[in-house]
Symmetry: C2
Subunit: 224 residues, 2 copies
Amino acid sequence: MKAELAVVLASGGMDSCVTVAIAAQDYDLALMHVRYGQRTQCRELEAFRNIADHYRVPKDRRLVANIDHLRRIGGSSLTDKSIDIAEADLDREGIPSSYVPFRNANMLSMAVSWAEVIGATRIFIGAVEEDSSGYPDCRREFYDAFNRLIDVGTRPETQIEIVTPLIAMKKSEIVARGIELEAPLHLTWSCYRSEAKACGRCDSCTLRLRGFREAGVEDPIDYE
Amino acid sequence: MKAELAVVLASGGMDSCVTVAIAAQDYDLALMHVRYGQRTQCRELEAFRNIADHYRVPKDRRLVANIDHLRRIGGSSLTDKSIDIAEADLDREGIPSSYVPFRNANMLSMAVSWAEVIGATRIFIGAVEEDSSGYPDCRREFYDAFNRLIDVGTRPETQIEIVTPLIAMKKSEIVARGIELEAPLHLTWSCYRSEAKACGRCDSCTLRLRGFREAGVEDPIDYE
């Protein structure tokens, strides 16, 4: 019997790679990647392709979407080159400069459009609430509200549910789960700043490295 | 005192033109237009620009966003040239072939990102529930759910509310309101099918023409 189909939002980073590995246990995969003008979008796309190849996802189940409004809107160090990528400070309060306003709602809306057309019943996203950078669109209640939106905003016969398997995990647990599922973590890219070697100092690198350290595992990618 | 700022989603059609006129009564305007690969996107953009010029909206308060995923996803006669635009049948049951899956959620997410960066407090959208084509994302409960999503998915200090001034109006009431507010209906474009003269036979033309007829007003645009 053919499995049901799940769309997985895959940035090319570690969290979404582990999310792909989790979804692959129970679903046929359709992988979506969004280029929104982030600094490292070429390197992220390469990571996405390598991960999709690893899981043998057919070409018609891969969607690389191009949107230009988030870059043009700006307001985030990820898309606006006039704002520096901050050195990591995981104890800072408030929302970091890398926050892209309402980004996950943009991506989930895109994923729902695709899921409705291809008949996928789940959308997986590797959002992390517990051990995260503090983005407002990474919280459980945001995904609860989005599921309600899908329920009222799609065809009556459409049944799509957003699944957030990492939401309550610490980074070290994500690393451990990835290794347990043989996720290709060596193919992933997390750095906000660089496309050559990872900088090791931005929020994303720092969270990742701490996760590997606490899991007692060596990070397989190269750092500056 | 400077008025508050509102983002208005403006397709270039009649409904959104009247929505712009309504928003302009109480707010400074920021107009957003989305090119998503719809057949008539060049003509719609021209209408958008003419309407923005009419209301003297400065260039930095206009955002023309380009997204390619809805066209590539397909599933709608508006974006997929292999599906014909149906002749109007306003008594048909179910959801018409012109439905673009979850389109309004995509657009509203984009508008929220922009509103959050420029400090707008309202997002106006000319959705019509009563006298519409029956799209699921034109219903009141969809906008209620979206307001909840904004509440939980943006910065704590962000206050953005979606406003749907046409939601309960009939097309004839929209025409009458537009004329009362001196909205530039002669600059608008509604046809799903053509970019030269409006076809007069698709759902969108038919609803528009019926609205003008019932309002006892002549439609100022040309038809085939």
